[in-house]
Symmetry: C2
Subunit: 616 residues, 2 copies
Amino acid sequence: MSEPAKQPIERKTLDERNRMSDLERLRHSCSHVLAAAVLRLWPDALIDIGPATSDGFYYDFDLPSHRFTPEDFPAIEAEMKKIVKENQTFEKCLKTRAEARAFFEAKGQKFKVERLTDIPEGEPISFYQSGDFTDLCAGPHVMRTGNVKAFKLLRVASAYYRGNEKNQQLQRLYGTAFPNKTELEAWLAAQEEAKKRDHRKIGQEMSLFVLDADFVGPGLPLWLPNGTVLVEELERLAKESEFQAGYKRVRTPHLAREKMYQTSGHLPYYAESMFPPMDLREDTGGPNQAGSESAAPSDRYYLKAMNCPHHHRIFAAEPRSYRDLPLRLAEYGTCYRYEQSGELMGLMRVRSMQMNDAHIYCPTEQFAEEFKAVNDMYLKYFKIFGFEKYQMRFSTHDPARLGQKFVDQPELWIKTEDMVRKVLDDSGINYVEVPNEAAFYGPKIDVQLWSISGREFTIATNQVDFAVPRRFGLVYRTRDNRDATPLCIHRAPLGTHERFIGFLIEHYAGNFPLWLAPEQVRVLPVTENQVGYARNIVEELRGQFVRAEFEFSNDKLQGRILRAEEARVHTMLIVGQREQEANAVAMRIHGKGSVGVKPRVEAVAEILAEIRERKS
Amino acid sequence: MSEPAKQPIERKTLDERNRMSDLERLRHSCSHVLAAAVLRLWPDALIDIGPATSDGFYYDFDLPSHRFTPEDFPAIEAEMKKIVKENQTFEKCLKTRAEARAFFEAKGQKFKVERLTDIPEGEPISFYQSGDFTDLCAGPHVMRTGNVKAFKLLRVASAYYRGNEKNQQLQRLYGTAFPNKTELEAWLAAQEEAKKRDHRKIGQEMSLFVLDADFVGPGLPLWLPNGTVLVEELERLAKESEFQAGYKRVRTPHLAREKMYQTSGHLPYYAESMFPPMDLREDTGGPNQAGSESAAPSDRYYLKAMNCPHHHRIFAAEPRSYRDLPLRLAEYGTCYRYEQSGELMGLMRVRSMQMNDAHIYCPTEQFAEEFKAVNDMYLKYFKIFGFEKYQMRFSTHDPARLGQKFVDQPELWIKTEDMVRKVLDDSGINYVEVPNEAAFYGPKIDVQLWSISGREFTIATNQVDFAVPRRFGLVYRTRDNRDATPLCIHRAPLGTHERFIGFLIEHYAGNFPLWLAPEQVRVLPVTENQVGYARNIVEELRGQFVRAEFEFSNDKLQGRILRAEEARVHTMLIVGQREQEANAVAMRIHGKGSVGVKPRVEAVAEILAEIRERKS
């Protein structure tokens, strides 16, 4: 993918956005109810601000006489319920600056006095009053406190006044509110489920990855053996799919000279999303041997934040003819982007990204077919992983902003967007069209997915690029012997290993299908007499590259089965005397329990087929 | 591999070293003969120096009146032959500094006058005379010019006086000499063959890789699709072998914080072999979300020059017990080392290294078995690639330098070296023992290989490390519940992709066995009528992941066969009407020609088996 933009934030559909502003109004009103309740219970509390957030609201207090804990929540919530029952009206009124200042000074509310200075001279200063609580507030609010029907306090945390660590710390109470109890309870249940499925929690339970901020650095995961299985199985899937779809694989270094990113246009505009440069001073002495390469005496190198410039240079490395097109260059290139440390989160927001990347170079007349094939690959993957709900967001240009936000090629924009739209329409793919959100150099498609548990996820974008190949001077010889610049499709159906695996962990709650499971099979002999038979089965499976382990200890069988279940081993083969004598195995599937006794040959064949077919 | 030393220079055995000094004496004598001949032909030539080199000798001249070209060589060689025929004695004599100066001043040999000042006061100033030629020279020489029986001038080049680009340029004549004509001719033939096998030449012919010093940087190869096939086939071989040998794969980022390399001991001592640091300024503002990681406000990051510190941190990431050992962590980690630009050469000396790396953590009592298994893996690979001649160099410590060059653990040194020696002896492996060349932290083994064409090559080392795990505080819980530090074996039987593939290209002269060949099969229909049948065969093969292509054009079959031969396609399947009717194919092997008509089923099965078994 080309644009070194921040990793995509999960987006809401337009409907959801409108819905959100109603919710925000409700939640912001609930934060007033919270502040009113706190002031009734602790009249010496100083109040700061209480905005709505994406999943609720908070309010910041200064209260040296008391430190809030979750034990306070029932009392606060009871007081809030009283206020709701009182069904107070939210009333707006305007005050002059002098009145406003006098109002808060009289109450000793020093933060509010300071916040007043944020409002520019001449702008109205609005207050909202509900019952005995009055706050400096731009609104809007619901009509009455009685509209706040379903809320819950969630947690307490410290927060610096105005988010600045040089200021004093306040106490922040977090809560959420919904239009009704059913929605609140559904949300709370989803939160509980999400906590259980949290990829960081499961990642630790299953030894998938660790973050080592101290030695390696924040946002740079180390993949442990179990997690590396996931990485390499996905890579194998991608390589096989891409081989069958006629892609060619390449490998490029993780860095390049400054000139590369000046040519691509990433420098200086995206420098802040890249790691800082390495300043290499080349030696000048020494014999310049035959075959050695020359280099400037001093040069800056950057870690790559995207693979496309390297691929463009590979395209340029040899003369190309129309007969070589489409040229589909694929690479699992690891890219490095600088994300602010406060934004890093598990595998979902990282600084190292192993990307399922490819760039397809083709003439316009091959575009539709290539683009359709890319979409088909997306759909193939969705099927393998059992993603039933998805939506593609097709971002187009705004003709009014050609030459500013969008490269000034009006005909190419219209032509390419028409082609994309036609492919999407013809394929019956579920998509929405969003104007004015294309990349600088062409239209793009974001893919939004929902996991089994309803978690939303955006895979990196699929982009059409009709501008950058020109910057790199890429040309091919046409059938009528002219030089022409190819289009370039940037695509990464599996996104990055980091985010995609983070999502898969939550999608499967760690209970991976056999082909992905870090430990696929564990063979458990019932007694010591079956140890040889069990080992022999393990060897047979390993000979076929099945990740099979063996466990025998003095522990009872039940204990060993329990341990394998806890470790989320996909298939257990239990062998007692009867099984050994019959050359059979008793098969158990994680989360399903026993599936019966089978001849060994049959069990092995079943396992191999299920892996080969990547059954979900 | 741990030690970020320069990539190993190809080493000579001790025998060869002694042999070399005889050769050097001969070659140095031949350089005197050359200088004498030049002075006879161009009496105004100024002479500088004429040492022996690893493959011959040179002599530097200042001769403004004439520019040497290869056309001069026959005349110079004829004059040299006369001098050889004159069978002059090489006679040594000592002169005082004043005599020596007067001697060269009288002849106007200004470089020689200057070179005199290099000899420290008090040291003897020796001259060698043969016939009418006298040179300032420490010797030794052969007895008489008649001993110079077989020589040849090779090329002419410019060279700065004293190798300093601020000085004037001299003309350097290169030549070589051997004890007899047979050896000279064998060497010249080998040179010709080596030129044909040069991996840079074949790399270009076969589109394997390119170096893009301008945009990417010197010494940072871009692997083109054909070269990536080699990389990924080797990787698959390594992953399969390592899976069967019980290794676990991991993945780590390509950089780490300064602290990592301070702990490992690589900083500051090896900083000059590493890429310069990236100075990352962490943001401090913004909410510190739950789950986000903290980081210092400013920190230096280094590209990794070795994988071991990352693996050590993975070892440390979880509590380890004796039951977890041996723990074998494998990774194809790309490392970056700063090699001086003048030392870079094709794939053989590079700055980016994709390393077939693994670290085996084990207690002392498991060492012998693990070390033997590592050696077996080396031998297994030698067999696959058909390396029949190899030697292991076992480098041990010097007890006199404990605590200086070698970590001060005398008992561990003796014990480990004994274990290594015993394994080597028991396995009947061809090895030599070299004292005082171990790594700082333990004994090491370099593996020296010879290709089919006699080219010598050193694979990265195999090391025992009993010091660094302690620096990282690595421990495991022993059976009797103590904490103990494991040994660590660093091993990389396939070295780096870059150097190993460079060597393989020359070993096979680009004619790779089927499993490695970039294009494995090309199907050629004789006429348009067989196009469908041919395409169908290609599809069948691709379905089995065979790299099969199809070619039909208006060119005659013979022309298409020739093109496939030139492209080094391993197997051609030619299908005419007769083959189609019989559901058969006519098979041709690159370099062998036709191997007959076979049923299609049989041909496909043969191809698949040859790939699966990695036949050489």
